[in-house]
Symmetry: D2
Subunit: 347 residues, 4 copies
C-alpha cells in the first residue's frame, strides 16, 4: 500500500483526490492537512465522504507527512514550492496540483504568478505531469508539477499535429477557444462565481492573458521542438465540471492531403484514457463527467484548410486530481488505470 | 416626478430597484450611495444598465439624500434604522427593504437579528409593506418596512383563510414548505452560494429557525386576529430567482364544505398583482420571473381534510424591489401598477 | 459470474444499470435489448460507455435472455409483466425497475396505470424491492418489483417511526413534500422537460394524485401494520439527479418524550447504505449524487409537536438502478455493497 | 395603432413576440393563429401572459389576417413562403422570423433547408431584417426576412471590419466560435434538448455545416462587397437564453496600426441597440438577458495580429422577436426603440 498524504484538502481538487484515493485499492490515506480546519473530520466538511473517509484534517505541523510515500499538494500556488524541499529530502515524492512546478523558467513564473519562485533549483528536476507526453520521465520522478486543466486539453488536442517532423498546420497561429465549468475557479468565496452571477450566463474572461497560456505554449513547443504561437480565450460555463476546448489550426498547403483522423488514432492508439472518436463526432463534456477520460474529435469543414479539434475532459479529474493519481500510478509502477476506471456519470 | 434616492445599490435588491425605477415614468433617480464604490458608475458594476442609468455611486456623506422625496434602503439589516430618523426629520419618506422595520417588538428583533434596535420609537409608526394587507396604512405612511420575500408568499397564501371570522383550518399547525432561488441570499461572497456548491443540488436550511418565521407569524396573526402556529422549512433551489411556497393546512371538521376556490377568488378579486389560478393549477416560478405578479393555486387531494396552497413569486420583484415600488406608488397616490407592468420573462 | 440481461437499456435507468454493472466484479453483461436500436452499439448511444461496454443492443427476439441468470427490466410500465412469466419458467430471475410488480392489488394497479395487469397471479409471489424493509424475502426471490424513487425516500424516511408497536405520530396525516430532479421523468421527448422549460424554474405537479402514492401507502401500511394517511406533493427541481423529501409528522401527545434521533440511529445501525446524520443536519442531494447512499436528518423545531424528516437520495441510484443491483446482490448471496461502493460526486 | 397578427404563436419566438407586443404602446394584437390550438387562450399555454393577453389561438382559416397591418410569422421554415403572397396581395406587410426570406438564392435555400422555395419571385423584394445594416431598405419594405440569431451576432460583430474600403483582416479565414442557449432550438420535444441531457453539459454541434452559415456569408459579403470565408462552429450552452460569439480575425500586415476600438465606436455611434464596450471588456450574456441590446468588446492580445471580437445578445430578443419589433417600428415610422426599452434582467 502506498502511504499518501494530502496538503490542503479543503478545495475541489482536494475533495476529488479524496474521492479517488479512498476508492484506490493500493492506497492508504495517512494524513490530510489544513491550517484552518485542524481536527475537523473530512466527512463533516464534505458529507459525500461520510462512512468512507474517517480521517480528520490535521495542522501541517503535526501531520508527519515525511512518513508518507507520496504527498499531493492541492493548495494555492506557492505552498508546494515552499514545502517540497524538506519532503523530498525526507525521501517523500511530491505531486503538486498547483502551478509551482509547471513552468521551467522562474522569471516566467514570477511574471504570471506574481511571486518569486522559492525553489528554482528544483525546476529542472521537476517533471511536467502530463502522462501521455511525459510517461517515461514520470516513472522515476521524485517531483511532479501536474499539468493545468486547460493546458491538458490543449496539449493533448494539438499534440498529434505538433509531434510530426514537419509542420502540418500554421503553428504560429493556433487558436484555442476554451470553455470551463466554474469548479476550475476553486472553492473560493468570490462574487463572480456565485450561482446568482455565473449560472444562466456565459462570458469570456482573462482574454488579455491567462496563466495557462505560458504553460501551454511551453508544453506545445516541447512537443513540437519548434516555436508555437497560440491565441487562448477561456470562457466560463454555467455548470460545475467539464472543459470543452475548440481548437483551430490552419492546414499548410503542403499538408492538405494528410489523413488527420488516422494521425490522431495512431498517436493515441495505446492510451488508456484518450479516446479519439469517429470522424464528425461532437464530444460532450458529460461523456467524461467524473471520469479520467478525455475525448477528441476532428472536423474539417468542406475539406478546406481549417482543422478543428474538439476536446472534452473533466477539469477536476483528467484536468487535475485524476491525472495526478494517474501520475502516481506510473511513479509507483502500478497499472496506469488503477483506481481510475470510473465510468462517466451520465445523465 | 418623484425624486428617489437609493442607499446601498450594490446588491441584488439594489440593482433590481434600479431596473424598475429607471423604467418608471414618474421617477427621477437622484442619488445612489455606496460606501465602497464612491464614484463608480452604476453601469460599470452592472453592465445591464449601460446606456440607461448614468448615475454613479456616491459616498453617503455627499449624497444629499435629504433632497429626495423618498429613499429606499437596499442595505444589510441595521443600516436603515440608523439613518432613517434624520431622513424622516428632513421630510423624506423611507422604504426599507431590509428587516429593520418589519418586526414590531424590538426584543423579538434583537433575538433574531442579533443587534439591539436603534430606533424602537419608530417601530409603532412604521407600516408593514404588504400592500394587499396594508394598503390603507401605506397611503399615508412616512416609514415602511417592506415584507420579506418568504413572508410575502406565506402571508398572501394564507391570508384568505385566516381573514375569516371563524377558523376554517387548524391555525395552530400550519406547515409552509418553501423553496427559494439563491438570489434571496444576496450578492455576498459565501462559499455555500457558489455555483459549484449550490447548482445541481438541493437542500433545506435554517430548519431550526429562520428570521422570516417571527415576521410571518406576526403578519399572520395580524390578519387572523388569533394566535397562529407555523412550521416553516426553507429550501435552496439551484436557480437564481423565484420562490415557490407549498402551504399545508388541516381543514377543520366544521369547514369541510367551504368553497376555498371561491374564497380566494373573492378575496383577491381586485388585486392587480395577485392571480388566483383555476383549481388544480400548478403555478411555475417562471410564470412570474422578473415580474411583480404572484400566483396562487389551490388543491385538496381527494376532497379530504388537507388544503394545499401553491404560491409563486419572484423573490426580487414581488418579494422585494417590485413590491417596494408598489408601496411607493401607493404612498405617492399613483396608480398602483405604474412602472410595474412588465410581463414575466418566459422561457 | 452472474449472467445479466437488460431489457430496454435506452433510458436513464438503463444506462445507469450499465454504468453500475460494467463496474461490478461479479457480473457478466450478456445481452441488452431494444426494439428500436437493434444492432447499435450501446456506446454509440451513450458515449460515456465508450471503451467500457462493447455490447450492442439486440432485438428482444434474438437476445436469448433465457440464458441469463437474472434479467433487469428498465422498460416502460407493462413490459415486464408481459415477458416475465416466460423468463421465470426458464429459470431466470427477474428484477423489474418499472411499476408492474410493485402494487399487490391488480385493481389498484389498473386504476393508476391505466392497463389491466397481465400477470396478476405473479403479484403474490413478487417481492417488493426495498432491501432495508424486505431483505429476507429478497434472498430467495425469483421476481422483484423494485420500489419507486419517491417511495424509497418516503418509506425509508418514515419507517423507523411506523415500525413501532404503538403510533408515535398522527399516522393518518403524514405530509410528504418531495422534490425530484428531472431524470425521474425518464429519457422521453416531452416539452415540459426541455431545458428551456424546466431549468431556472420550479413547480409542483401531479398534486391531485401521483402513481407513487398508492405504492407508498401500501408500503407504509406494511411497515406499520396499521392504516396510514399520506398527503404527497411532488415537485420538479431544475437539475438532473436527486430527490429531497421533506417529511412532516405530528407527534402524538403520548410520544412527546421520544428520542427520535436515537430511534432512527438504532433502526438503521447496520444498514450499509442508510446514513442517519447528526441532529440538526441538512442533507444535500449532492452528498449522494451518483452513489447508492440515502441520508436522513431529523428536526423538531423548538421541541414542539412537529417532527421533520429530511431524506436525500439519487433517484437513479438508490431510487432505481443502484437499489436494483443491491437487490441482485442479496438475491445471489453477494455482499450487499458489491459494486456499489462509489463515493458521491461532489462538487 | 398598428393591427398585428401572429402566425404560429406556440413557440419561443411566438411567446416572446407576445411579451413584447403586449407592452408595445402602438400595437393592437388582433389575431394569433395555431392549427393545433384553435380556441385555446394564449394565457393558458403561457401562464406568464395571464391577465395581460386575452387573445385565444385561432385556426388560420378563421383568423382574417388580411385585416392586419402587419403579420409576423413565428413558424417553422416553409410556412411564411406559402402564405405570404396572399397577405401581400391583400396589402398586409409581412415579417418572417423563420428562414424563408433570408437567403437570396433559391437553390442555396433548397440545399440547406431541404425544400424548394415556394415563392422565389418574392426573394428579390424581400428585405433582410438586420436594421443596423439595412435600415433604409426596411423603411419601405413590404416583406422582411428577419436575420437569424447567430447571423445577427456574427454580422454585427464583423460589420465594422468588413465595411471598410480595403480589407483590414484576412477576410477569407474568419473564425466564429459561437455559443447559444437552448431556446435557440425552439419549443420542440427532442431528447437532445431535455434538461437531463443538455444541462450540466456542453458540446459543439453541426460543425459540418449549420444553416446559419450560408446566411451569414451572404450577409458578410453584402457588407464587404468582397468574398468572405467563414468557419462557424456553434455550441450548445446549458442555459435558456443568450448567444456569445467569439469572433477571430487575422489582421493584415498593412492594417496593424488600425485603431479598431475607434473604428467600432464610430461605426455604431448612433445605434440605439448596439453597445461597444470599453476596450478589454468581457461582455456577459446576462447583461442583455430579455433585452434588445447587443454588446461588443474588442481584444487584441499582446497587440499581435489576432483580433478578437466578443459579441453577446439575447437570441430570442435581438436575435429574433425583439429585432422583428425593431424592424416593424422602422417600417411604420415609429421611433426605433418604441416598446423595446426593457432593461436586461440581472441577476
Amino acid at each position: 500500500m502506498i502511504k499518501v498524504g494530502i496538503v490542503g484538502g479543503t478545495g475541489y481538487t482536494g475533495v476529488e483526490l479524496l474521492r479517488l484515493l479512498a476508492q484506490h485499492p493500493e492506497v492508504e490515506l495517512v494524513a490530510i492537512t489544513s491550517r484552518t480546519e485542524d481536527g475537523l473530520p473530512v466527512a463533516t466538511l464534505f458529507p459525500s465522504l461520510r462512512g468512507r473517509v474517517s480521517l480528520a484534517f490535521s495542522d501541517p505541523a503535526k501531520a508527519a507527512l515525511e512518513r508518507c510515500d507520496v504527498v499531493f499538494f492541492a493548495t494555492p500556488h506557492g505552498v508546494a514550492m515552499a514545502q517540497s524541499p524538506a519532503l523530498l529530502k525526507a525521501g517523500v515524492r511530491v505531486i503538486d496540483l498547483a502551478a509551482d512546478f509547471r513552468i521551467k523558467d522562474p522569471e516566467v513564473f514570477q511574471k504570471w504568478y506574481g511571486m518569486p519562485h522559492a525553489a528554482p533549483d528544483l525546476l529542472r528536476e521537476a517533471v511536467y505531469g502530463l502522462p501521455e507526453v511525459n510517461r517515461e520521465a514520470l516513472r522515476k520522478a521524485r517531483l511532479v508539477g501536474m499539468a493545468g486543466c486547460y493546458p491538458t486539453s490543449m496539449q493533448l488536442g494539438y499534440a498529434p499535429l505538433l509531434a510530426q517532423a514537419r509542420a502540418l498546420v500554421d503553428e504560429g497561429h493556433l487558436v484555442a477557444d476554451c470553455k470551463s465549468g466554474v469548479s476550475g475557479a476553486g472553492r473560493k468565496a468570490e462574487i463572480g462565481n456565485l450561482l446568482a452571477e455565473a449560472s444562466d450566463n456565459f462570458k469570456a474572461y482573462a482574454v488579455k492573458g491567462h496563466r495557462h497560456l505560458p504553460e501551454t505554449v511551453q508544453g506545445l513547443e516541447a512537443i513540437a521542438r519548434r516555436p508555437v504561437g497560440l491565441t487562448f480565450v477561456p470562457h466560463l460555463l454555467p455548470m460545475i465540471r467539464g472543459i470543452h476546448s475548440t481548437l483551430y489550426a490552419r492546414i499548410l498547403p503542403g499538408a492538405m492531403d494528410t489523413d488527420f483522423q488516422m494521425l490522431y488514432e495512431t498517436h493515441y492508439a495505446h492510451e488508456p484514457f484518450v479516446d479519439v472518436m469517429p470522424p464528425g463526432s461532437t464530444p460532450e463534456t458529460r461523456s467524461v463527467r467524473a471520469s479520467n477520460y478525455l475525448r477528441i474529435a476532428l472536423h474539417r469543414p468542406d475539406g478546406g484548410d481549417t482543422l478543428i479539434v474538439l476536446v472534452v475532459e473533466d477539469n477536476l479529474v483528467k484536468g487535475a486530481s485524476g491525472q495526478a493519481v494517474q501520475a502516481m500510478n506510473i511513479m509507483f509502477g502500478l497499472p496506469e488505470d488503477t483506481g481510475l476506471r470510473q465510468i462517466a456519470v451520465l445523465p
